[in-house]
Amino acid sequence: MAAAAKPGGAPAPKMTTNRAGLTKPDYRGLPSTLCAGCGHDSIASQIIQSAFEMSLKPHQVIKLSGIGCSSKSPAYFLSRSHGINVVHGRMPSVATGAMLANRTMKAIGVSGDGDTGSIGIGQYKHFVRRNVPMVYIIENNGVYGLTKGQFSATADLGQKLKYAGTNELMPIDLCLEALVAECGFVARSFAGDAKQVRELLKAAMAFNGTAVLDIISPCVTFNNNPDSTKSYTYGKEHEEVLQDISFVQAYEEVEIEQEPGTVQEVKLHDGPRILLKKLDRSHDPTDKLAAMRLLAEAREKQEFITGLIYINESRPTLVDLEGLPDTPLAALQDDKIRSTPEQFASVMAEFQ
């Protein structure tokens, strides 16, 4: 697992209020009703931490999800943000509509591997293709938790479960799917690797576009046998971290005191930076073909690679493509959204 990085990333333990004037409890949610130890809860707590560190204004955040244990998570963080729990596998379309209606919101979408990989793969692909700005978190446990342990589409080939038997189909790799759909932020992480999850979350929150985080999130009830690639034990033992990641706020001054060439810096659109300290494996996350090869090879070899796989902020988002005004559509006053009598009269004349 990645060692804790110095710059930027570490939570400031004595800080009581952030730049939004809020304390960490302001980012909490309701008590979780998930199983004790569920990976989804670890992720939720990192969302809380990241949102706090990013000084997000809760009323400027929306939380969206589909159906599943994972999709329940949004109730367990950011109670002061509006949330919506939609139908199974269709969160992406709801998020698309929401972001069109109010481009100023920061959207956090939470889904499961069943929700996104099985029923939802179509909406997922098209959402990514449209580059709707949202942090798209997949809490990936390889099973359907809420319906009690069937294989999802990300279950490994040959995996065995007491209830579901042996999985005989190749897993869908949701990072590769995102990449192929031109996603500009593709990362994989592990719920057991809190620091990496947190730094990636912050980077994703700062990213302008769809940011996909496929986080392996063990289901302690149905899929946590050590031989399962989605278990804590397996994850801890096999996680191959690509880079040591730190997110640096725009307002932070960080000296990179590293040997040249060992840290790759990725600048985001309005100031923040992602620092990637190279580890054993060398991977350039700005190289799409390299990212594709990395994922394809990892899949063949059943390697559990985590980190920032691909980043490219240049593609226009759906908001850009629609040429939306700065004022959210949902906030336009009535007179702005009904055309003027003159405009109307001139159109009416066309039909005379």
């Binding site: 929306i62 509006h82 509509g97 069109l100 909406q123 098209h126 629609e322 009535d334 009598p341 039909f351």
Partner: protein, 613 residues
Amino acid sequence: MSTAAVEPAPRAVTLDSNRDPVNDFSVVVATVNGSGSQTANNTLVRALFKMGIPVNAKNLFPSNISGLPTWYTIRISKDGYVARREGTELLVAFNPATAAADLQSLPRGGVCVYPEDAKFERSRDDVTYYALPVKSLIANLGVDKKLVDRVANMVYVGALAELLGIEREVIREALSYNLSGKQKAVDLNYNVVVAAAEFVRENLPKQDPYRVERMDKTDGLIMIDGNTAGALGALVGGLTVMAWYPITPATSLADGVNEYAPKLRHDPQTEEPTYAVVQAEDEIAAIGMVLGAGWMGARAMTSTSGPGISLMTEFVSFGYYAEVPGVIWDVMRMGPSTGLPTRVSQGDVLKAYYLGHGDVRNICLLPGTVKECFEFGQTAFDLAERFQQPVLVLSDLDLGMNAWMSEPFQYPDKPLDRGKVLNAEQLKAMEGWGRYKDIDGDGISYRTLPGNEHPAAAFFTRGSGHNASAGYSERPDDWVSNMARLARKHETARQYVPKPVVDRREGAKIGIIAFGTADPAIVEARDRLSTLAGIETSYMRLRALPLGDEVTQFIAEHDRVYVVELNTDGQMHQLLRLHAPEHAMQLRSIAYSDGLPLTARYVTEQIYEMEQK
């Protein structure tokens, strides 16, 4: 079109009104689709319209892109009737594949105009023929090879102009209108028209009685199709997010939005659009986007047809229970499943009202005219936001895709009804707010929108398992009280939705109830029943679901009430029986659906016959 193919078996009694050869007959133009006859047909219709003569045209086209038979029928009616008529007096037989059969469908004394080289048997000797030398006429004009096919249809325009007495200058203006004033194209086409007209004048002496005369019955009117009208209504009514997936016959509604939004909805100051349109990947995504935008506080809408509303079923239940506004236009087409996408039907009424699993009853609007399509463009949003639920607008192919005469639409005098939305200050002022509380006793709760900066404004939206404060709940009592509130809300909606339009005739013992594009046939049938059979009827045209008390009362007032609709199972008849069970046996169903718009003859004969029993 060929009678054999499309007409129901002839009735014992025929209650057709006598036709006047002046300003009271129909023309059918038979072509193949993709042959570019649209401009020709539109020009004819517009010219008649501009001569002040009431006119209505219907395009009967196949579900493919080119090469198959298409019939375009133009009804000219001095009395202003606009229903489809069975039987047309004039045939433009420009499709050799169907010409022989089309000829059979002419009445005695009918007229057949055809290209002289068309190979089909002129089997009728009770019909007047006019053969047009299409090829040579065009050749003589030296038309560019590439354009020949496109202008060939102008030959029948010229011929009909001459035969019927349509003024040439009006035709020129109509051409200019339809070709958006592109002078070169106008000239080219007009030259063909004139050449054809001259040819007819010189070579084909008039032998039939049919002709038109100027009137003033269309003064000040517009012509527009229902889908465009709906698009305009939505744009003036505050639409900001449109998500749609192509499907006939709903596509042109989205096209209308795309076409007119830049004219109507670019902020005059900033020139920025005040809307977004997305072509979704399918209908599930389209309704998802609509609900996402509606949840966020935008006026959002989608347009679709039967297969689409089927796919939206799950999301509609969600929207109904989570209480998220959104508007769905269902431009109804023929037949379930893949169906016949280019044929009209009113087959989704029952389905739309109950769309969703579990106990769901949706508000549905039932526009009957293009003007109502326009008005309901806004009304649908007002209702969706007031009642915080998906609202369906049930239009149909005939209303949506054919052009109709109408009074011009008025810029709305009503403000938008944005419903019970609390901003931060209002929330502060209100005590004990809960997302699903019924504070006013009308079943409608107050909602806050994302972005509301009040620290208590946020809530979690989810399907059906919640208490009055939007907390997750599986408690039976929460469920029961929420359902009771939703039922109250539905009762409130009964009062709120557009009321039926009623025309009571004195002494009428029988009533007719209908909706949507059944209307023109009924208007005409009532006149016929009255004049030809002495049967007086009252008429209620429904404009929305749920139904209100006035409907029950109307039924109660009459001995028998005929419910006329374009489907097979009598779907509205069923809803009416459920609405007024104490009068169930007074209700009689006339449900007929063969893909074509309803005719007055059918309605007249049905009622006449059923009255004999």
